[in-house]
Symmetry: C2
């Protein structure tokens, strides 16, 4: 299927590589598609990424990626998300499922990061308000990029991933994508209801970051015992 | 051992009952110790509590409870914690471990609750700042009262409890208490370091509350898979 990814850092690259390799038609949207050789934070250069993913994948503008996608994934840094999606274009996102995997982390004051929005609002809600004709579904933001696409690498995949969004059918569809695309087990996917629940999933990031420091690895996730 | 509990709602009662039944000398501090017959929120009346716990337990003022405790537990509602501990008396808490199990939940705007403090500060830090000569250790605030005292009732006790506080020896001591008093497994207790980490453990409450709604039970907890 045609998938547009907004954001070409490690998260966008990891999602795009996984989707491209399993045969999806991926366009990775980036601010300046001509800068193919520049290393991207923790990610590869886009030239390196293209070489890895195979023939069908393309690197393009945010706008082209959004146009291309039947589904669009927001994989930008949380602080840049609204602007990047605005650049991608409201009309290009209209009527589509927008999977928001970003976190509103503010690293500007050093570690550990704080959140730019929380408690009475969330990035997920901000995106939904800014794009009312899109179906925003928040998910995958509670795990590391490598875990997003390969949950089975940790604890046999027996750990939880949250889905929330105001459109119930879109949530169910994204749950199917998580299972089909990346192998998230069906009973590991927890539907939290409306997009307001993004407050909760974004607000576990401070604990997540602290745990990463204590455990010395980002390759972990929560399982719910009951 | 002599344990003072500040707060006589369901959390204080549950902790006190468990500790009293295992032979500790518990004083449950309450705003007005004469109101023994009044039902306490989700908890019992204090007369009912006393009948359940046995001879050694007492109900007294916040001040008396703090004086009595070699260790003092803050089990008040988060919005009332600072005032209750102030009433308990700085001198009565001086040099002692203060175990803070409270959450700064604001139910005044309805459900789900928001937090009165988060992101750049936490209740744990506020308590530590207000009582600099006490050793504040935040723990148990991420689970329901019944889970606090009986982790084995869910998932064989294989789920996580966080400890943080600025005094490393106090954290280690509280970890031993969690194991001795309530049966938390040693490898389920995660030391997150300084009290600043209370931001993280308090900020999972919005997700916790949402999950309780989705699952229809407060009897659950997170396990970390790695």
């Amino acid at each position: 299927m045609n998938i547009g990814i907004i954001g070409s850092g490690v998260v966008g690259q990891t999602l795009g590589a996984s989707l491209g390799k399993s045969g999806h038609d991926v366009v990775l949207g980036t601010r300046d598609p001509k800068k193919l050789d520049e290393k991207r934070g923790f990610g590869d250069s886009l030239a390196g990424w293209l070489a890895k993913v195979g023939k069908k994948a393309r690197v393009a503008t945010f706008e082209d990626a959004a146009k291309h996608g039947e589904v669009v994934i927001n994989a930008t840094a949380g602080t840049a998300s609204l602007k990047a999606l605005e650049t991608a274009g409201k009309d290009n996102l209209k009527g589509k499922i927008v999977i928001d995997v970003a976190n509103p982390l503010d690293f500007s004051k050093g570690m550990p990061p704080t959140l730019t929005v929380c408690n009475t609002d969330s990035l997920g809600e901000q995106v939904q308000r800014a794009f009312p004709e899109s179906k925003v579904v928040k998910t995958l933001n509670t795990v590391n990029a490598n875990m997003m696409v390969a949950p089975g690498t940790v604890g046999n995949g027996d750990h939880v991933i949250f889905v929330c969004g105001d459109d119930a059918e879109a949530r169910a569809q994204v749950a199917r994508y998580l299972n089909d695309w990346f192998g998230w087990k069906k009973d590991s996917i927890v539907d939290l209801g409306g997009i307001e629940a993004a407050r909760g999933t974004e607000m576990i990031l401070p604990l997540w970051v602290r745990l990463m420091g204590v455990m010395g690895t980002p390759m972990f996730n929560f399982r719910i015992m009951r």
